[in-house]
């Protein structure tokens, strides 16, 4: 039963990833693109965790944590750059 639930969750997150990719490509403004990239990072974290559940390895947790940190820092840095023209003032 858990196997099918993992498959269903993978399908949901994969579909969400495609939707965010569509929004990244056809986005009306730059903040939209940042938001779509941030959502994409969140979806990818969930996919990494699900893959770790499938393989039964604890290694993928580290990748998920690193991805969360770099995603947050890059989103904030990009938003700060288009807000002020500079990242660290």
């Amino acid at each position: 039963m858990i196997f099918y639930a993992i498959g269903f969750a993978c399908a949901c997150f994969g579909a969400g990833l495609l939707m965010t990719l569509w929004r990244v490509v056809f986005s009306p403004s730059v903040p939209d693109r940042i938001l779509a990239l941030d959502t994409m990072v969140v979806n990818v974290i969930a996919l990494i965790v699900l893959w770790g559940m499938i393989t039964g390895s604890g290694l993928y947790f580290e990748a998920a944590l690193l991805f969360a940190m770099t995603g947050f820092v890059s989103s904030v840095a990009y938003a700060k750059f288009i807000l002020r023209g500079d990242i660290i003032e």
């Binding site: 039963m1 858990i2 099918y4 639930a5 993992i6 269903f8 969750a9 993978c10 399908a11 949901c12 997150f13 579909a15 969400g16 990833l17 939707m19 965010t20 569509w22 929004r23 009306p28 403004s29 730059v30 903040p31 939209d32 940042i34 938001l35 779509a36 941030d38 959502t39 969140v42 979806n43 974290i45 969930a46 965790v49 699900l50 770790g52 559940m53 039964g56 604890g58 947790f61 998920a64 944590l65 969360a68 940190m69 947050f72 989103s75 904030v76 938003a79 700060k80 288009i82 807000l83």
Partner: protein
């Protein structure tokens, strides 16, 4: 029996988390405006990922080796999603609106995003003529 209940709970967490994330990502392409579009990923997607991570914790406990690592990712995502949302909203305000379009702040200073002065910052919420914080 307990194992059966645990499997049902983990499966429910995974399915509900997946559905929440799907709703969040669908709202990203469905909603009309950036300010409304900010709601979908920062709330629904974050909750969906939290559900999946809790399911992963329960799954590793069911396998006989409980791990609390996933809780770190959950807490990190729940803490950082509002910050990212706030920064994106400020960037949108700075790019798409003019200072005269925004409602008045009720203080002596304009909205912080449009406040490009180089003067030293005084406390904005303190009325004039009263001693504020030492600056």
């Amino acid at each position: 029996m307990i194992q059966m209940l645990a499997e049902i709970a983990i499966s429910a967490l995974l399915v509900i988390g997946g559905l929440f994330a799907l709703v969040g990502s669908y709202g990203l392409i469905k909603l009309p405006d950036l300010m409304t579009r900010l709601h979908a990923p920062t709330k629904a997607s974050t909750l969906g990922v939290g559900g999946v991570l809790l399911g992963s914790m329960g799954y590793s406990a069911l396998q006989g080796s409980p791990s609390w690592h996933e809780l770190l990712v959950t807490i990190f995502l729940f803490l950082t999603a509002p910050i990212t949302c706030n920064f994106i909203a400020k960037a949108w305000i700075a790019r798409q609106t003019r200072p005269e379009d925004l409602p008045p702040t009720g203080t002596a200073r304009p909205w912080a995003t449009h406040d490009l002065t180089e003067d030293p910052i005084e406390p904005a919420l303190t009325p004039k003529g009263r001693p504020g914080r030492p600056s």
